[in-house]
């Protein structure tokens, strides 16, 4: 697939990194020559230096035969203009843009064919915010991922002593929770994936991925570990785009939120914008400030600045001072596992990981609605819509056990007419089902894509 990425910032370069291995032709455009050179040295892609919305630059980047244009520069306006130019001059079929300003996002009608032709809008900060909010809602989970508009969730939990299922075989889950349907999609033990079978025994420290309807998540989680008390008091460190959105969303949901930001001016504007959040100008690693604001009574401390080291250190300090749980935003991929395995920090969130999925959904062949990238991109969870019939599709009309799934792939659930069906080996897939799959090994992605592509005889 031919793809142009406009903007070589954090989002742009991490998308390039993720997709370049999948036999995609990627051209990346930016005004910063040094950054481009660095990317080109590291990855197999083409770079163009220049203003991303100028027609000649887009032409040079090969916009004529590009399949996808991904506008993720820093400026909403440049992104919009680039999509407009690509549509008018080069008829690029798929145009995806990052739009940050809420003022634009509140009026989706401006992004139509007749106005500003953008096919899909991504808002990375919003995705990361939603992601963290999910974690705050389920404080015991490592990851909470939505499918089918939130009907189904995929949750990653670390098994601990105290969970009734720990030390037992998986099939006993049915006896423990007779009325609840769930499916364990994968288990990671010491960073190695295990395909779960009925006789797999869950051990302490296993990372368990399970799929269940949203209302059942808490019950299933309680099988694997003693549940944490619901979160009430939250301290956010860093009032950037993510901190600001998170605070706004949390304060409207009856959480008690405090927000620390070291930039006095920004703190002032945050205090003016936020209604109930207590805004504290100051250093998130200032012991005095944390003590005065009752860090020891805090349920979760989230370090959300764009400085990895500051996030790690301030959350370690918060943990040491008595915060029940700490969450840290970490951009550098290599830090994520390092931090999480050290045990000092409960949850490490990688914004790129959280965001990349929403882009992948557009890049994947077949009718893919949602993609979540897991475990540093090694694994992937996909929501795809099955089309066609038993003669044109390799999935529709077949029971799960008859579908030739690639190794390491499980079908966890199906959403049919907004109803959640947890799959068993004899569940039959019908046309227009939303199928939720879990791939332990992303290299098998093309095989999965083929399952959900309708063969040409369909047309």
């Amino acid at each position: 697939m031919k793809m142009i990425i406009l903007g070589a910032g954090q989002v742009g370069s991490s998308v390039a990194e993720n997709l370049v291995h999948e036999a995609n032709d990627i051209t990346i455009v930016d005004t910063d020559g040094e950054r481009l050179t660095e990317l080109q040295n590291r990855l197999d892609l083409r770079t163009i230096k220049g203003n991303a919305s100028h027609p000649d630059i887009l032409h040079a980047a090969g916009a004529e035969d590009a399949d996808i244009i991904l506008a993720v520069t820093n400026s909403d306006e440049v992104n919009m203009a680039a999509c407009q130019v690509a549509y008018t001059l080069f008829h690029t079929p798929t145009k995806i843009a990052r739009i940050r300003a809420l003022s634009y996002l509140n009026h989706p009608e401006i992004f139509s064919e007749s106005a500003i032709p953008i096919d899909a809008i991504i808002s990375p900060e919003q995705i990361v915010t939603d992601y963290i909010e999910g974690l705050i809602k389920y404080p015991s989970a490592l990851q909470v991922l939505d499918f089918a508009g939130g009907l189904v969730q995929l949750v990653a939990v670390k098994a601990y002593h105290g969970g009734p299922l720990v030390g037992h075989e998986l099939r006993e889950l049915r006896n423990h929770l007779p009325s609840i349907d769930t499916r364990v999609a994968a288990i990671y033990r010491r960073d190695r994936a295990i395909m779960p079978e009925g006789d797999t025994v869950i051990e302490v420290d296993d990372e368990v991925f399970f799929i269940a309807a949203r209302k059942n998540i808490r019950a299933v989680m309680s099988e694997l570990r003693k549940l944490d008390k619901p979160v009430k008091r939250i301290i956010l460190a860093g009032g950037g785009n993510i901190g600001r959105r998170l605070a706004r969303s949390l304060e409207s949901k009856k959480y008690s939120v405090k927000l620390i930001d070291h930039n006095r001016q920004r703190a002032q504007s945050l205090a003016e914008e936020l209604q109930k959040t207590v805004v504290l100008p100051g250093d998130a690693a200032d012991e005095g400030l944390l003590t005065r604001e009752g860090i020891e009574d805090t349920d979760i401390f989230c370090a959300l600045t764009n400085d990895d080291e500051a996030n790690v250190l301030s959350s370690m300090l918060a943990k040491r001072m008595g915060a029940r749980k700490v969450l840290s935003l970490i951009n550098r991929a290599s830090y994520v596992d390092l931090v999480q395995s050290s045990g000092e920090i409960d949850i490490a969130v990688s914004p790129q990981q959280a965001t990349i999925g929403s882009l992948l959904a557009h890049v994947r062949r077949g009718d893919v609605v949602a993609v979540h990238s897991l475990r540093r991109g090694a694994a992937e969870a996909i929501e795809a819509i099955a089309h066609g019939d038993s003669s044109t599709s390799r999935a529709v009309g077949r029971a799960i056990q008859d579908i030739k799934l690639p190794r390491g792939t499980t079908i966890g659930a199906i959403v049919r007419n907004n109803k959640v069906i947890i799959t068993h080996h004899d569940t039959v897939i019908e046309a227009d089902d939303h199928v939720i799959l879990f791939l332990v090994d992303k290299r098998r992605i093309s095989e999965v894509e083929k399952l959900f592509q309708v063969s040409y005889s369909f047309f």
């Binding site: 003016e272 207590v278 805004v279 504290l280 400030l289 604001e293």
Partner: protein, 483 residues
């Protein structure tokens, strides 16, 4: 300072005001009540004085500057009270002394509603009408009216408008042009008045009374064409109509304008000031009713309810209508109501007092200090309806509050020093400064018993309250005259 500009505009305003004497002339002619001569001479004097001021400089078209705006407004209000008192003084009946006539006229124009007259029912019809009309003209502000009908004021209109309209935030224009804003305000004012008059009429008043009372209701004045005030009618429906229109008139007219333009009632429900205003009125009503009922002041619950609510709204909005002597109620209630009148109505309404928005800002400031004790490092901007307020506005509110309290204390002391008892002195100053009307003690029904000095002090208090201190007090600073 360019005195020519001041002279020209003042002359113009007087000519405009003289035309407002035409309706009483018609009334007097129609009823043949014998006051025709008084009104005709008042009209000619005002008109000629205006002409004398205006004609020599009518070609000197210059824009009004900020400072001249303050002088013009204050000067004009004083002159207005002066020429407004002419009919009272000239007419054979009541034929008031100069001090009394001035007090009555000032009380009318500032929508206070304090009166020195007794036996109002026996006065000539035209005089009774004229008192009501004075209140109506003063309610929205005759300078605002001038801005609306005299486009030649141009840029200067804004300076005048700012000096006369109440509330801490005066730069919010409803429309791009100040003339249009002033017109819009007057249309709403007129519309409310017509609606109110019709409702009163349907509720059982005579057309004469209906028009007269609609004037003083929408202006939040409190004058009545009867000695017994609204109590004269002894009609619950009339009281209900009065309650509704007093509440409406106490709401910011900008909100009326926006909701009328958008044909939508939602602006009322999202406005923080209106919400506070209505809650305050509700709380006060509940307290009044509870105490009245517990003390057994009235025999039946129905009586307790309508007297309680009417009086709470009337005093709470600083109108000052009375149905029964609320000063005979258990002492706590009159004091509570007079205290409530310090808050008054919303900014940009015709109500007096310090205005709800200022009380709200003061309260939020107080709350912020308490929060600061709990979170010493946190930032707490003052917000109203979710929007942060500028520090400039907040400090202006503090300044206003300080001056208000100071003026209240100083004027009360002067009143005490001229031989009034404490209750009379303090309640009279509160009633005049808040443009309320009825006080307690010696001034509970009328102000006739006061000394002349007392009446002059209170006239000054009324003007201070109507022009919200700053416009008047700025003239007493040396820096104003120097620069």
């Amino acid at each position: 300072m360019r005195y020519i500009v001041i002279q020209r505009i003042t002359g113009l305003l007087l000519i405009l005001f003289s035309s407002t004497l035409l309706p009483p002339i018609i009334v007097s002619y129609g009823y043949g009540d014998g006051a025709l001569k008084a009104f005709l001479s008042a009209f000619s004097i005002t008109f000629i004085v205006g002409l004398i001021l205006f004609l020599p400089v009518y070609m000197k078209k210059q824009d009004i500057r900020l400072r001249e705006g303050f002088i013009i407004v204050t000067l004009f209000w004083t002159l207005l009270a002066l020429v407004g008192s002419l009919p009272f003084a000239i007419a054979e009946h009541p034929h008031m002394a100069f001090t009394d006539a001035f007090f009555e006229s000032m009380s009318g124009l500032t929508t206070t509603g304090a009166t020195v007259l007794t036996g109002i029912d026996e006065l000539p019809q035209s005089i009774r009408y004229y008192r009501q009309q004075l209140q109506w003209l003063g309610g929205m502000g005759i300078v605002v009216l001038a801005v609306a009908v005299m486009p030649m004021l141009g840029v200067g209109g804004m300076q005048l408008y700012r000096a006369e309209t109440p509330g801490p935030m005066k730069d919010n224009k409803l429309t791009p042009r100040i003339t249009e804003t002033a017109k819009a305000l007057w249309y709403i004012y007129l519309g409310l008045t017509v609606a109110c008059a019709l409702s009163y009429w349907l509720a059982g008043m005579t057309p004469f009374d209906a028009i007269g009372h609609s004037f003083s209701t929408i202006a939040i004045g409190g004058f009545s064409t009867h000695d017994q005030n609204i109590g004269y009618f002894n009609n619950v429906t009339i009281e209900m109509v009065g309650i509704v229109f007093m509440i409406l008139a106490g709401i910011n007219f900008a909100l009326h304008f926006i909701s009328w333009r958008e044909r939508n009632l939602s602006p009322y429900f999202v406005d923080a000031e209106v919400k506070t205003y209505l809650s305050l009125l509700l709380i006060i009503s509940v307290i009044v009713i509870t105490v009245l009922w517990n003390e057994g002041t009235y025999q039946t619950m129905q009586e307790t309810l309508h007297h309680g609510i009417f009086q709470a709204v009337s005093i709470g909005t600083t109108t000052g209508f009375t149905t029964s002597g609320f000063y005979w109620w258990p002492l706590f209630l009159p004091v509570l109501l007079i205290t409530a009148s310090f808050i008054g109505g919303c900014a940009g309404s015709t109500a007096g007092g310090m205005k709800v928005i200022r009380a709200l800002l003061l309260y939020k400031q107080g709350r912020r200090e308490i929060l600061r004790l709990i979170h010493p490092d946190a930032l707490f901007p003052i917000k109203v309806g979710g929007k942060p307020m500028e520090d400039r506005v907040i400090s202006a509110v503090w300044g206003f509050f300080a001056l208000y309290v100071f003026s209240y204390a100083a004027l009360s002391l002067i009143m005490v020093s001229t031989g009034n008892d404490l209750v009379t002195a303090f309640s009279a100053v509160a009633a005049c400064l808040n443009n309320l009307g009825p006080g307690l003690g010696g001034v509970s029904t009328d102000y006739a018993g006061l000394t002349d000095t007392g009446k002059w002090v209170l006239s000054a208090a009324m003007l201070l309250g109507r022009l919200e201190l700053f416009t008047l007090l700025v003239l007493f600073t040396p820096a104003f005259w120097r620069g």
